[in-house]
């Protein structure tokens, strides 16, 4: 068997796409302390927006810009009620928001194809062969990953990022020091949603098909796992988390062929996954790579 280079590259593309999601959650939760359990909703908004724009014949860059704008808009909308709420309320509210949105996209065929979704979404780059397309995707996705990584690192090392962390640490104290925390939380959700939206746009053009069944709450949980395992508050960490998640998911599919166990491999994978989450939370709550001490100057 030849070395499955295409499989590896595909895995890296997925790592990139979900890595962007993890980065956005890291901004929202890792830095600002907002537990957004509706990540998949913004991923979905981005995917659908970008798909509709590119299917209408406009270029990819417009599609992704639109995806980011619309996602940011919805992020800001959701933030209106959400940011005044306690963490647990916010989590449940965002979870509910994602499910409502999926129901709407599923049942209203006129919006975007209803239950069967949209197919034939144009790719970002037009290429001639499968391999070159894969490299093309890899480059496109990692341009976004790197851009967002630099952007978020820059924010983190700025007074703006420091302020977001202050809100995470103690909102009332931040308020008492004159920070309009509500406004900053709304901004964080909008920026985070825009980033998540671009990730959705990349996903849509990579698969070239999207449907409501692709946006189940399990994606939200997966992104959370990436952030928790990789390292809350550390952008490098969550990217590593995204890679670990992909390796885990695909690895368990491959390893089941070599392992003879009396347990169904699919069940086994999820049981280990559940345990892993608990173990990380209990024994290394800061995740694989710890949040670093930031010096602005």
């Amino acid at each position: 068997m030849a070395f499955p280079i295409a499989y590896l590259l595909d895995m890296l593309v997925f790592t990139g796409i979900f890595g962007i999601m993890a980065l956005s959650l890291n901004l929202e939760f890792g830095h600002t302390g907002l537990p957004n359990f509706g990540k998949v909703a913004f991923f979905m908004i981005g995917a659908y927006t970008s798909a509709l724009i590119t299917l209408a014949g406009y270029p990819f860059i417009l599609g992704i810009t639109g995806a980011m704008a619309v996602s940011a808009f919805f992020g800001a909308i959701v933030s209106l009620p959400a940011i005044r709420l306690r963490e647990d309320y916010l989590a449940i509210l965002t979870l509910a928001f994602g499910e409502i949105l999926r129901l709407i996209l599923k049942n209203e065929e006129w919006i975007a194809g209803g239950v069967l979704g949209l197919k034939g979404i144009p790719e970002a780059l037009t290429t001639t062969s499968f391999k070159s397309a894969l490299y093309g995707h890899l480059i496109v996705v990692y341009i976004f990953v790197v851009t967002f990584y630099i952007f978020l690192r820059f924010l983190e090392k700025s007074p703006y990022g420091r302020l977001l962390k202050a809100i995470r640490e103690d909102e009332l104290a931040a308020q008492s020091l004159g920070k309009n925390t509500v406004w900053y939380k709304a901004q964080a959700l909008a920026i985070g949603s825009a980033i998540a939206g671009s990730s959705g746009g990349l996903y849509a053009q990579y698969l070239s098909y999207i449907g409501p069944d692709l946006f189940m709450p399990v994606i939200t949980f997966a992104v959370w796992a990436m952030v928790i395992i990789g390292g809350v508050g550390n952008h490098k960490g969550v990217l590593v988390g995204a890679l670990i998640y992909q390796i885990f998911e695909r690895g368990s599919r491959i390893f089941k062929d070599y392992l003879q166990i009396p347990i169904d491999p699919n069940n086994m994978m999820f049981m280990i996954f559940g345990l892993l989450l608990i173990i990380v939370l209990m024994f290394r709550p800061e995740g694989l790579i710890k949040e670093e001490k930031i010096k602005l100057l």
């Binding site: 295409a6 499989y7 070159s132 069944d213 599919r253 699919n266």
Partner: protein, 411 residues
């Protein structure tokens, strides 16, 4: 400041490097990767010792129970060839992956089959969303897929490509159901469908072609499990019949609650999604289905070839074949025959071989000639009716439907 600039420069350099490298690789590999574009016989990969057939079914999740049984159909086809010493002296190896009733997982599993296992022909995936989700990839990768159970009309639109299916579009079955409804003289019906591609496909068909007949349409969430008020509305609406489209799992819940609410005075029609013997495992469901004399359609599996398949299935697994296991059997047979007769184990050639094989293959579900869209060119649907026998319950075949002949009921 300068530090950041440096970093950005570094990153840009890295990106450019990767891009250049990637493009170079792509250029170099392009010809050998896609022999179909420049067919040079000397470079063709030789036939492997073992012919690998991918099987991508939902072995867990909502459709896990159905998928597990469909897998038996695929295994039966493999056993048959292996008992004959394989095809052209080569053994058949089934590489089974689970799509877990999740299109995202289906894509991932498909890639594992193709990239890691090197499979060029795959039986599956099961659902229409999964098939649509992998379509782009398999076309790009020149991998033949034969779905035994993706029934959405939209798959036809994919056109001439690497996507085939052994089962007809839902639009046809809906037409069959409609003829059945007309033959019974209904003027007002209610649709009661599962809220997914399968159910909504049927609902859309009826709403499109006979909007005046559809008095009310219900979509139900299979997770909800509380359909009393929906059913009560159907009861109050005073329709002639209720058209139920769903799967076994939620179907049982709907029928039990319908029985409890006394919806047994209306006619019930349904489709293949529930035409499975496991429905009778629950006594209340079985009683209800027999009491209302539920009728419905399903893609046909009758006649001599089906009986032979069913006999083999019973011998091998000790049970009657279940929903779609016959279609899975045929899809696997076609895949094996195509891969075995193709000059090399290679997607485009398997596709051509598949088209040839399909011209003469007569399987458990009849002739399987593909039309230009990769859909079966011939389809007949059976009309079934639930009856109570001395030993239990069964789906009795009371007629057939085909586009050419229309509805023919056995007197």
């Amino acid at each position: 400041m300068s530090k950041i600039k440096k970093k950005i420069l570094m990153l840009v350099a890295v990106i450019l490097l990767v891009a250049a490298f990637g493009a170079g690789c792509a250029e170099k590999q392009a010809p050998s990767e896609t022999p179909s574009e420049k067919p040079t016989p000397s470079e063709q990969p030789p036939q492997p010792e073992v012919i690998k057939i991918g099987v991508l079914l939902d072995l867990s999740g909502d459709l896990g129970a159905i998928g597990q049984k469909m897998k038996l159909g695929a295994e039966l086809a493999q056993k048959e060839f292996d008992s004959l010493g394989g095809i052209g002296g080569k053994k058949i190896e089934l590489v089974v992956e689970d799509a877990a009733t999740d299109p995202a997982k289906a894509v991932e599993a498909m890639k594992k089959l193709v990239e890691v296992e090197g499979v060029k022909v795959v039986v599956g995936p099961m659902t229409s969303s999964e098939t649509l989700a992998v379509a782009k990839y398999v076309n790009d990768r020149n991998v033949v897929i034969i779905s035994p159970s993706a029934t959405a009309g939209k798959i036809t639109e994919l056109g001439d490509d690497y996507v085939f299916r052994t089962v007809g579009s839902d639009d046809l079955q809906a037409a069959a159901l409609l003829d059945l409804m007309k033959s019974r003289g209904y003027s007002k019906i209610a649709t009661f469908v599962i809220a997914n591609d399968y159910g909504i496909g049927f609902e859309d068909y009826f709403k499109k072609y006979v909007p005046e007949m559809v008095a009310l349409s219900i979509r139900y969430d299979p997770q909800k499990g509380d359909y009393r008020t929906e059913l009560q509305q159907v009861k109050d609406a005073g329709v002639d019949a209720i058209i139920f489209v769903g799967y076994v799992d939620s179907g049982k819940v709907v029928f039990r609650q319908a029985a409890d609410l006394g919806l047994d005075e209306i006619d019930w029609l349904s489709s293949e999604g529930i035409a499975e013997n496991v429905m009778f495992e629950d006594a209340k469901t079985a009683d209800f289905m027999a009491k209302v004399e539920m009728i419905g359609t399903k893609p046909s599996s009758t006649g001599f070839t089906y009986e032979k398949f069913a006999e083999k299935h019973r011998q091998a697994f000790g049970s009657d074949p279940d929903l779609f296991s016959d279609y899975t059997y045929d899809a696997t047979m076609l895949a094996i025959l195509a891969a075995g007769t193709a000059p090399s184990y290679d997607g485009p050639q398997i596709r051509e071989a598949l088209k040839k094989v399909s011209e003469w293959y007569n399987g458990a579900t009849g002739y399987k000639l593909f039309d230009e869209n990769g859909d079966p060119a011939f389809y007949t649907y059976n009309v079934w009716k639930v009856v109570k026998t001395d030993t239990g319950f069964k789906y009795e075949i009371i007629g057939h439907w085909a586009p050419a002949t229309g509805l023919e009921l056995i007197p």
